[in-house]
C-alpha cells in the first residue's frame, strides 16, 4: 500500500501577548530602579527606630560616612582604620565645596553607623568632622515596622 507523505503543518505562535507582558515587566522594573541605596554597604546594619522617616526633601550637599561594627570608617568608597584617618576625605570634600563656591555649612554629614558600633567611635568621627568645620550632622536609622 502506498502511504501518502503528509508535510508537517507549520505552526505559527502568536508572540504578541508575551511581548506585551515583557514590556510591562520591563517598564515596572525600570520605574522602581532606585539609585538611593548606592551608598549602602552590606557591612552596616543600621539601628531601627519607629521615628526614622525618609526626609521630605533631599539634602543639598550630602556627605555619607559609615562606621562599621569594628570602628572602621568608610568614606568616599574607601575604608579607614579610624576617624582621624578619614580626615583627608573630609578635607577633600571641603576643598571641593569651596571650589564650587559653597561653604561647609551647606553640607550635611550623614552618619550610617552599625547598630553595635561604639558610640565613642561615632562621636570621634563627629569631632573630626567638626575640626574641618562641618556642623550639620544626620544620624541615619532604618524604619522599624
Amino acid at each position: 500500500m502506498k502511504i501518502k507523505k503528509v508535510e508537517a503543518a507549520k505552526i505559527e505562535i502568536d508572540m504578541t501577548p508575551m511581548i506585551d507582558i515583557c514590556f510591562q515587566l520591563l517598564t515596572f522594573f525600570v520605574f522602581i530602579l532606585s539609585f538611593e541605596g548606592a551608598d549602602q554597604d552590606a557591612r552596616i546594619q543600621l539601628p531601627a527606630s519607629e521615628l526614622a522617616k525618609p526626609p521630605e526633601k533631599s539634602e543639598d550637599v550630602p556627605i555619607t560616612l559609615q562606621v562599621t561594627k569594628d570602628g572602621q570608617i568608610l568614606a568616599g568608597g574607601q575604608p579607614f582604620p579610624n576617624a582621624d584617618a578619614a580626615k583627608s576625605v573630609l578635607n577633600a570634600e571641603r576643598t571641593m565645596l569651596e571650589q564650587r563656591g559653597r561653604s561647609v555649612s551647606d553640607a550635611n554629614i550623614i552618619i550610617r553607623a552599625h547598630k553595635d558600633a561604639k558610640t565613642g567611635d561615632v562621636q570621634q568621627l563627629i569631632k573630626v568632622a567638626q575640626s574641618v568645620e562641618f556642623t550639620k550632622f544626620s544620624l541615619r536609622a532604618k524604619d522599624k515596622e
Partner: protein
C-alpha cells in the same frame, strides 16, 4: 502607461533579536533589584563654638542631659537624667527605661513651642552600643501612636564631648 496593481506583500518582521534584548534587559533589572527598608535621619547640630553664657530665657526649658552608662560588652547599664558634672548621680530610669524617659521628658517639655526650643544633650560611655543612642534619640524626639501619627518633642539634640575609651 498601465500601472500594474499588485497587493502589498506581507512583510514578516523578525522579532527574535528584539525579544532577545528585552529578555536581557528584564533579567538585568530583576537581578539588580535590591529590596531595602526605608531609612530616615535624625538631625543633630554640633556648633563649633560653645554658646555664649547670657541671661537664660525664663520661658525656655533648662537644658536636659541624658547620661547612658555601658557595661563592658557595650549594652546599656543604666539611663540617668540630669547627672552631676562628673557623670554620676541623676534620676535613674533602669537599663531599658526608654518609655519612662519619654514620659518624663514629655512632662518636662510638653509638645508645644517649649518642646521645639528644648535641648537634650546625650552623654554616653565610649563603648556603648550605638543602637542605644538611637533609642535615646527616638525616646526624646517624639512618639508614634497606634495610628502612625508622630507627635514631635525635642528637636535639638547634641552630644556631650566624647568620653575616653574605658571611661
Amino acid at each position: 502607461m498601465k500601472i500594474k496593481k499588485g497587493g502589498d506583500p506581507a512583510v514578516a518582521i523578525d522579532m527574535t533579536p528584539m525579544i532577545d534584548i528585552v529578555f536581557q534587559l528584564l533579567s538585568f533589572f530583576i537581578f539588580t533589584l535590591k529590596i531595602t527598608t526605608q531609612e530616615g535621619d535624625f538631625n543633630i547640630t554640633m556648633p563649633l563654638a560653645a554658646p555664649r553664657a547670657g541671661t537664660p530665657d525664663p520661658n525656655q526649658v533648662p537644658p536636659i542631659k541624658v547620661r547612658i552608662r555601658a557595661t563592658a560588652d557595650g549594652s546599656c547599664n543604666g539611663i540617668f537624667l540630669n547627672p552631676n558634672d562628673d557623670g554620676t548621680g541623676g534620676t535613674p530610669f533602669g537599663t531599658d527605661g526608654w518609655k519612662q524617659l519619654r514620659a518624663h521628658i514629655a512632662s518636662l517639655v510638653g509638645t508645644g513651642s517649649q518642646a521645639a526650643s528644648a535641648e537634650v544633650t546625650i552623654d554616653a560611655d565610649y563603648n556603648l552600643d550605638y543602637e542605644n543612642v538611637i533609642k535615646c534619640i527616638t525616646a526624646v524626639s517624639g512618639e508614634k501612636d497606634a495610628a502612625g501619627h508622630i507627635t514631635k518633642m525635642v528637636e535639638k539634640i547634641k552630644f556631650a564631648p566624647p568620653r575616653p575609651p574605658g571611661g
